[in-house]
Symmetry: C2
Subunit: 602 residues, 2 copies
Amino acid sequence: MGTKDSISERLKKLHRKMKEKGCDFLLVTSEDCHMSEYVCDRYRTIEHYSGFTGSDGDMLLTSEKDYLWTDGRYFIQAENELRGTGIRLMRMGEPDVPEILDFIKDNIKTGQTLFFDYSTVSLRRGCKLEKIVEDKGASVVDSDIAGDEWEDRPSLPSNKVFVLPDHISGKTAEEKIQEVKNSLSEKECDGILITSLDEICWLLNIRGRDIACNPVAMSSMYISGKKVILFIQKSELDEDAMKFIGASGAEIRPYEEFRNFIEGKTLKGQKTLLDRFNTSFYLYKTISGHSEAVVDRSPVGLMKAVKNETELTNLRRIYIEDSAALTKTLLDLKEELPHDGKTEAQVAGIVDIARSHLKGFIEPSFPTIVAYGANAAMMHYEPDREKSAEILDNGLLLIDSGGQYMGGTTDVTRTVSIGNVSDTIRKLFTRTVAGMLNLADTVFLEGCTGINLDIMARGPLWKMLSDYKCGTGHGVGYMLNVHEGPHSIRWKSNKVVPDEPFKEGMIVSDEPGVYRDGEFGIRIENILELVSAGESADGKFLKFRHLTYVPIDLDVIDIKYMTDEDIRRLNEYHELVLKKLLPYMDGRYAQLLMEATRPVSR
Amino acid sequence: MGTKDSISERLKKLHRKMKEKGCDFLLVTSEDCHMSEYVCDRYRTIEHYSGFTGSDGDMLLTSEKDYLWTDGRYFIQAENELRGTGIRLMRMGEPDVPEILDFIKDNIKTGQTLFFDYSTVSLRRGCKLEKIVEDKGASVVDSDIAGDEWEDRPSLPSNKVFVLPDHISGKTAEEKIQEVKNSLSEKECDGILITSLDEICWLLNIRGRDIACNPVAMSSMYISGKKVILFIQKSELDEDAMKFIGASGAEIRPYEEFRNFIEGKTLKGQKTLLDRFNTSFYLYKTISGHSEAVVDRSPVGLMKAVKNETELTNLRRIYIEDSAALTKTLLDLKEELPHDGKTEAQVAGIVDIARSHLKGFIEPSFPTIVAYGANAAMMHYEPDREKSAEILDNGLLLIDSGGQYMGGTTDVTRTVSIGNVSDTIRKLFTRTVAGMLNLADTVFLEGCTGINLDIMARGPLWKMLSDYKCGTGHGVGYMLNVHEGPHSIRWKSNKVVPDEPFKEGMIVSDEPGVYRDGEFGIRIENILELVSAGESADGKFLKFRHLTYVPIDLDVIDIKYMTDEDIRRLNEYHELVLKKLLPYMDGRYAQLLMEATRPVSR
């Protein structure tokens, strides 16, 4: 991150360039050209020009003033980071703060220009921007001035790809590609362009190291009935990887050639499938400029979400090992804290180290969240290594963490008490646990989506007039992104992304919580596997099975806030935790685990 | 209904006419031109030409063969009624049975014609038909041959309208109309055309007697900022009604003039709002032919669904009186049956008579369903007065009934055992009751729709791998249609009709069930009122309150299939039933009621 001075300098230079190029409005986004949730340093353009380090935001430069839009997760952080830069923080969702598209609509004038890099804006958003701007008699220009003016902009990462043996992938790349081809025939498309990094890695049974916490490689792909092409930097591939990819039938071409490929003659007149949500505006404009773009869901998303038997077997084992490591750490922390004055960052380090000793560990699946007291009310709080809070003796400690392993991606949250906590906290903690276990105990008809099920987790909190302003669950990748679709659990239908019915073999998080601004935060998160619950004349039924086995802190449970069913579920879960983890616990830990999973009763 | 012979004659004559007019395909629907759920005799065209008496179906006549599409509710009935007519029954939803639109698409040829009466087909369906047919190079023709050829077709009903005093309506027609006008301004429309009979009656605080069980009057309406016009047969209005309607500011014109009005000059160039779901294709085509048709939801649907304080006060009282009458009947029946050999139709008569003695009773709100044994597996079974089943001593008796009163519309279902029933029945009955009471006990955030809540009623049955193939709940009119929207409770999102969030003051049915073909049927239905559950920093919360207070038959309850919470809910409900109904019960009934509502425990 630059100092305030250097940021001012950069902004001045950028504004000069805008003027020179006739650019009235410049939009800078936090996306890369693969629409990734997390990006490599090359795409941290907003950070370079503003100092803001949050993962989600939009910067808009105008001849008069500069603005940065971000959401509630980042208000406090953005305020600190933008101080002194002159950039105005636009708090998304607050009253009187217009959405960025409305702002542009209201401010751009006939004849003016909006510049943005078409490749770092989604199809959907690009189309909206174009319409808004053109309706005002202004025009959009595809130009990455901010990137071009960035001196010493980091180059593309180029880390070696590794390949997955069959006992890890469970299905050959050839088979997966064949399924994509079948799907193209069904949809009557000639080919598909895939730019989602996780879809490409999953399809080819390869993994990369180009984005921290996301084992993906910068790449693009084209599949048609006759042709399979992987666009990737040659420097990412050793001989093994080359052979492995070659064996799947894919031809390898340089990453940079992708632009020539889509702009050139090959796809002209073809019917090309583009994913509705993960396609850039640039890709869409290019394809629809010379051929028929079919905008639909990529079939790979659903294929990837339904784990195969090998993936599930590996996941079940990995989750138990991961649970055991975290449980030991939590048992230690409950004994040691608060007496040794550790900070949140130190605890995060301990959690990361515990995981790193496990066989097959690659890296954390996201930056470990350790949040004490009021910090836990911020859903995406990340402790600062230098100045994170010390853990005292009268609050909750929330730990949300996960690992990437050969054999799976984990994600788990536990909230534990350090010292005494209030009755309100005990009540809401107990109801959060009740919600998590209640959802996990649901049986439902095939065809249901997360919209139908969300209330099973949220209902016990709603009864206390408490709500959490986020979804209840997300899909999890297999040695891939910790957040993946297409399924999710939430109560509000998202009109943009349709709700995907659950299928046997999917995995999903179950993470109700309570977030009291300035006071405390509670989140309990297990990952669940979708399994068959049987079949009757009325149809096929599904249910959940826990993948995560980590004790719930009984110190914060107050059974007066539980129904008898809640108590049964908690005891049954703890019985399972004990059974699954005991083989991993020696001497002292075995004793502590038995105590931590003891049955409760009225 | 005609004899088989007369039906053959009618069909022959109709086919001759088709040939004469150059009609290759003739579609006859079961709608009237107001898109009513139930229709008056004039619109029973399908019955006239086929003998089929079900309320929902489509008839398609072609030069070669005649077809009738209907859904699962009517398969058995339609089979019997169509026998000997030569009309082929198309069982909707069964494999290998094409939908009617697909059938037309696959069979109509270039240059051929499809005739249908544009006024008895919905906007949405008409547009689809038109597209399908025109895409095949064929054409649609607006013509009601079937109606024109119907000798002695019943004329329009013309029963006297009655007016609602303020203590029944709670809001003047003038106020309601003003709200519609405000909504038109918001939507930037010049006017709205309303053809839904219940919307018109509700707006004007009038009720009619033109459709059995639905206290509505055949009418249409136009409202703009300057003009309010009611199109209705003058013969329906006595002097009081004329004055009353006049006082609301509405001008009265003959029913038949509506066509001239919309086809004429008055609306030319205007922006006219049409309801997306209750507008006929004829109305849509006419308006969009000469002015701007804004197809959206009519604001009246939601206004009507949210009951005002007067309506709610009346409803609460009516529901208790209605519950008391039904409870007495059920207590008697439990004692008398099966020893006196009554038939289902006789029991229906008893139920109807019990209700008819209540103050303010107008008519049943739908034909009373009394179904014994396997008959109850048919969701819309109606006992035939002549040959309905005798009630024996080893099954369940399902009674679904309701009344229209000055002050409300009721709807309630109870299932009781007559003699011994199997353990399977006891299990599923108990879980149905658990589901009904569980949904009624839900607290949820404002913004939720029925899609979010359905699992609260269905979940306890899903756990037993049992499902019912219909929704869980519907809105209920106020002295109007027993089924009304826009809200509902169901788990599958209906892509056509959007899900409407619940609001305080709405009322909705809660009616889970079990339907085992050829074996038995269970349905337990209460009507619930939406009330505030309080407000917190996280938002406003809603919950339900029972309107219906009728005991659940404890003879069929087996508490080994209940959680402790289920038991608590049942006992609390019965405590309320006792409290609300005891004032209406004398001597013997008081004793029986106390016994019927006794607390259960393990």
